[in-house]
Amino acid sequence: MTSNDMDDGAYIGLRSATLRYPLQPLQRRSIKADLTGLLKRGAKDARVTTRYVTALDAVTLDIRRGERVGLVGRNGAGKSSFLRLVAGVYLPQEGEVIRHGKEQAIFDIGIGFETDATGRENVFYRGLVMGMHPDKIRERADDIIAFADIGEFIDLPLRAYSSGMVVRLAFAISTFLEGDILLIDEVFGTGDLQFYNKAKARMMDLVDNAHIVCFASHDLPAIRDICNRCLWIHGGKVRMDGSAEEVTKAYEAAVVRGEI
């Protein structure tokens, strides 16, 4: 990589990055299981044979400023893992992830709230979690609250909210933070139609202003609409990398043919 590439600012680079999820923590070890395991020595122990699930397998790629990258693939293909790896939530066990620029993650937006605190307080906490300065958050709090548009609920504890309200608040907060690298994981769930339209407009606005966008979705028209590049991820590897048009077509065709 030449120094010129870096001058462009925002950049994502993966160098044979491999991400594995260890399964051992999820399999509840207990003394009972260990003892019965000893008695049944002959039987194959499932815990030993599958220690890891490989979510991303030696992926190497560059994403530069100006690229809007769509991520397609089946459930469990590695799209979300890719976004979380770029965000730094997961670290690669092998290889390297390079990120230049501040990331703005729009995934799992409904979690990480203090349910005993009010909506207003949570706006503040979420901003702090994302690394913003308190002054900046105060500056934007009014905009966020206006966008969420949940009325006087904003001063009630979150446990009083309907699930739709939580989503609205979460969406408002997440999209009013700052970042050059936008990482989006299929966010449109609950929320009424009116909010959906508002959210979509807001999202397009964000996409326009971000330096890099990575957008995982099953909504292929949306990907063709937004993205100028698309990665088809399959079994933890990049199966195809090209223009959004080309890759989504190929992916669609493969699904129709029943190949994947």
């Binding site: 120094s3 870096m6 001058d7 600012g9 999820y21 260890p22 923590p25 979380r84 965000a87 730094g88 939530v89 997961y90 670290l91 390297e96 390079i98 990120r99 230049h100 620029g101 501040k102 990331e103 993650a105 995934f107 799992d108 937006i109 979690i111 990480g112 709230f113 203090e114 005993d116 605190a117 307080e121 503040f124 906490y125 702090l128 979690v129 994302m130 690394g131 300065h133 308190p134 504890p157």
Partner: protein
């Protein structure tokens, strides 16, 4: 060339790690404040509970053990109250830190944040409770023993610093250990119970100077911590150097374990929720 921003997690040095903790200082402060607020959010007595609780215990201990040990209320009340306040701090940091990392899952799934930040959140919360407790001790002392020299009170500051330096790594160990092994909380609950009885919390200090018990009290850091606070607070004495050394030595051991544990477990802690 732009510098990588955010928390650079791969093999951080102590310096870069502390820097990343510092970057989240506002978050730590606000979460600790939220914890304090939430604790009393819908309670009528509110913050007063911080004082009511130890005072009620003190009354009971004074009635029962004051009679057993045969000492006056004036002498025993400040003693027991200070013991309870200090013990509460230590046992709460040890016990409740088990949730420090676990309860941060929602945050950690969105952003890489140094785990130590969440250990600090718990520590700060309990430290504020400790300050309230110590204020209560001060009030009881002035009532029970008017005319006690106040010259030695500044020695409470180094005592507090030592206490925090001692408790912080234990909080980290609890947080890491419990996230990895959910048996930890049960085990540590029993250990705390033992600690309660081999420390001069409510049992009179000089009982621990008997030949058989001397060994325990000489090496028990909680005994030294109690001495560090009671000497200036109750007896107008300057704390002893030996107590400071004992506390610092234990703190060094706990810090070594805590740093090792964090280093080993932090990169893939996210998989253990």
């Amino acid at each position: 060339m732009t510098q990588p921003t955010g928390f650079e997690p791969v093999k951080p040095t102590l310096m870069t790690y502390l820097k990343s903790v510092y970057a989240f200082r506002h978050l730590i402060a606000h979460l600790a404040r939220a914890d304090l607020r939430n604790r009393f959010r819908r309670s009528y007595l509110g913050v007063l509970w911080l004082l009511v609780n130890p005072l009620v215990y003190t009354c009971i201990f004074v009635i029962i053990f004051g009679a057993i040990f045969n000492i006056s209320v004036r002498e025993y009340a400040p003693y027991v109250l200070s013991g309870i306040v200090l013990w509460e701090f230590i046992s709460n940091v040890v016990g409740q830190s088990t949730q420090s990392i676990l309860s941060a899952e929602g945050y950690l799934r969105q952003k890489r944040i140094p785990l130590f930040a969440f250990c600090l959140r718990t520590l700060i919360y309990h430290f504020v409770c400790l300050l309230a407790g110590l204020a209560a001790v001060l009030v009881v002392v002035t009532i029970a023993r008017p005319g006690l020299p106040l010259m030695t009170l500044p020695w409470l500051l180094p005592a507090m610093v030592l206490l925090v330096v001692f408790a912080a790594p234990i909080g980290v160990i609890s947080a890491v250990a419990h996230t990895r092994f959910r048996d930890y909380q049960v085990v540590v609950g029993h250990l705390l119970m033992i600690g309660y009885y081999i420390s001069p919390v409510f049992i009179i200090r000089k009982e621990f100077d008997r030949p058989g018990l001397r060994v325990i009290s000489d090496f028990n850091p909680i005994t030294s911590i109690c001495d560090l606070f009671r000497d200036p607070l109750l007896y107008g004495r300057v704390p002893e150097l030996q107590d400071m050394i004992v506390v610092l030595a234990w703190a060094a051991v706990f810090w070594a374990i805590a740093i090792f544990a964090l280093k080993r477990t932090e990169p893939d802690m996210i998989f253990h929720f």
